[in-house]
């Protein structure tokens, strides 16, 4: 345990500035977003919303998007540390030196996972605080579903870390690290692409299937309000999406924990099978 504590201290110390910078930028963003929402409720923007129905609709979407954007920002911040840690270990020579001191791969993995866990907890706290603030600003009630689903982007961070660790943790030299980093980035991009491509593909398929119905509706109701047209086109999709999010929501936290455990196992494996230069 003392070894893990020492290694954890080391990692926290190396990333101290980055952690502070992330906390400051996330908090700054949270304040800015909250001010926008507050303005919509009681400030200058509230007058605009009251006078204009279109603006009200647009802001409704913004209210839903801001917490998601904020969660994405926090997820990006949570996943940023690994790259810096592995790179600085290789550059300083610690990656090699760590093999000459009495530290097991599982100690290194435990310290790295503990560090990641602390960072995820910190980011979960920031996200939930912002969600609470956004609910307060928009006058909507806090819900368990909302609290859970807002963390969805964060679930990608340990997955990305696991990919990065799988490739780069075996690097002991800068040359190998750069090569492995490129491979890891390619796999990460592929995962991100798949994560985006699957829902987009489903949407495209849905739209293709409904193209004749949409055409018929537009012919029959050429002067229907825009809101009704959109509702006809996307109503089903939104309903299905909402249904899916309700199904996913309870699994977000377990997924983060599970992916962290997977990351731990990958670090153990990669550190054990480290590059033999």
């Amino acid at each position: 345990m003392a070894k893990i504590r020492s290694l954890l201290f080391r990692e926290m110390r190396i990333q101290r500035k980055q952690i502070l910078a992330n906390i400051i930028s996330c908090t700054g963003c949270a304040v800015l977003f909250s001010l926008i929402m507050l303005s919509c409720r009681i400030g200058n923007l509230s007058k605009l919303i009251a006078e204009n129905d279109d603006a009200a609709g647009a802001f409704e979407i913004v209210f839903k998007l801001l917490p998601v954007m904020y969660s994405g920002l926090c997820a990006a911040c949570a996943g940023i540390y690994d790259q810096g840690l592995i790179g600085s270990d290789v550059n300083s020579g610690w990656a090699n030196y760590a093999c000459a001191i009495p530290v097991r791969p599982r100690d290194r993995a435990a310290a790295r996972t503990a560090f990641a866990g602390i960072m995820y907890l910190l980011n979960i706290l920031l996200i939930e605080l912002f969600y609470a603030a956004s609910c307060a600003a928009t006058g909507k009630p806090l819900s368990a579903f909302g609290m859970s689903v807002i963390l969805l982007p964060l679930a990608f961070a340990p997955l990305m870390s696991a990919v990065l660790h799988l490739f780069t943790m075996r690097a002991r030299t800068q040359v190998t690290f750069k090569k492995e980093q490129i491979k890891a980035t390619a796999v990460q991009m592929l995962l991100i692409f798949l994560a985006g491509a699957i829902p987009c593909g489903k949407l495209a398929q849905y739209m293709t299937d409904r193209v004749s119905q949409i055409g018929q509706y537009m012919e029959e109701h050429p002067f229907a309000p825009q809101e009704d047209q959109l509702s006809f086109i996307f109503g089903d999709v939104l309903e299905k999406g909402n249904e899916m999010l309700h199904r996913i929501a309870p699994w977000v936290i377990p997924a983060i924990v599970l992916l962290l455990a997977l990351d731990y196992l990958i670090i153990c494996y990669a550190a054990r099978k480290g590059e033999r230069v």
Binding site: K3, S6, I14, D89, S92, N96, C99, A100, I101, P102
Partner: protein, 292 residues
């Protein structure tokens, strides 16, 4: 735990790379002694050290450190040894105090008082960032960390390379003090043979992945000699009697590995003692036999 004769035992260590092979390397470092591991750059010193630390896996061979298997008992061995590399392996943002905090958890026998003494002795600041240290200070800090957890074996890979003579002398003095304790041993790889000539008990020459000479330094120095002769004398020498010869316009300088036998056989010729540096150079050129 401390019942061993040799701090390091390496038998038939082999590691193949593309273009380089560590070829059946075998040597011992007796307990309580300091061995100089000598060879030019790329000779295989670092590969051997990395293999014994299990940083690289050997293709074949057996390594025992402090009487224990270097893989099966890896953690137990590493708690009792210290390693100093040629480059500072600590992140530059840390201070000496922070390094102590890290190592306190890693080494069960970490001794804060010993570390503090070494910092005082080397006049190293506790709160200054390592990044602001000079090369000499960085090496001193690395050595202070290495000698503060009661290590029985100190393994150094080119640790004195690039340091000025004053710092080197200071560090060599510390190593001699470290060796005052009977159980302490040092393996010191270097191509600065003058340092090893001062402090080593035994030496091991390696070149192109093969051990050329290994033994007690005094024996190696006593047995080798530089035979200086004219060109005509050189022509009369039996080529099997010498390692290699440096030819010049005035004659030849020839390294013999059995000085006594050579003195008897070539009684009219002058044979002078050879330094470790000269022995290394002549052995490295033994493939060519004659060089200038």
């Amino acid at each position: 735990m401390s019942d061993y004769q040799n701090a390091i035992e390496i038998r038939d260590l082999t590691k193949k790379y593309d273009g380089f092979t560590l070829d059946h390397v075998s040597f011992d470092v007796p307990r309580g002694s300091i061995m100089g591991f000598i060879g030019q750059n790329g000779a295989g010193k670092t590969t051997t050290i990395r293999a014994l630390l299990n940083i690289i896996s050997a293709d074949s061979g057996e390594i025992r450190l402090l009487g224990l298997d270097h893989i099966k008992d890896e953690i137990a061995v590493k708690e009792r040894i210290a390693v100093v590399f040629d480059e500072m392996p600590f992140h530059e943002i840390f201070t000496a105090r922070e390094m102590a905090r890290i190592f306190r958890g890693i080494y069960p026998k970490w001794d804060d008082a010993a570390f503090q003494n070494l910092l005082d002795r080397f006049q190293l600041p506790q709160k200054k960032r390592i990044g602001k240290f000079s090369k000499g200070m960085k090496m001193k800090l690395q050595i202070a960390c290495a000698l503060s957890h009661g290590a029985e074996l100190l393994v150094m890979d080119e640790a004195t390379t690039g340091l000025d003579p004053v710092v080197r002398a200071e560090i060599l003095d510390l190593f001699l003090e470290y060796l005052q304790d009977d159980g302490h041993s040092i393996l010191m790889s270097s191509h600065i043979t003058s340092d090893l000539e001062k402090i080593a008990d035994s030496v091991c020459f390696i070149d192109r992945g093969r051990i050329l000479v290994s033994g007690y330094k005094d024996d190696v120095l006593a047995s080798h000699g530089l035979l200086k002769c004219t060109k005509s004398d050189y022509a009369a020498l039996d080529r099997a009697d010498f390692i290699s010869a440096r030819l010049s316009d005035f004659g030849a300088e020839v390294l013999v590995s059995d000085r006594e036998a050579a003195a008897k056989k070539y009684s009219g010729l002058l044979i002078e003692p050879a330094t470790l540096d000269e022995i290394m150079v002549y052995y490295v050129n033994q493939g060519k036999k004659e060089w200038s």
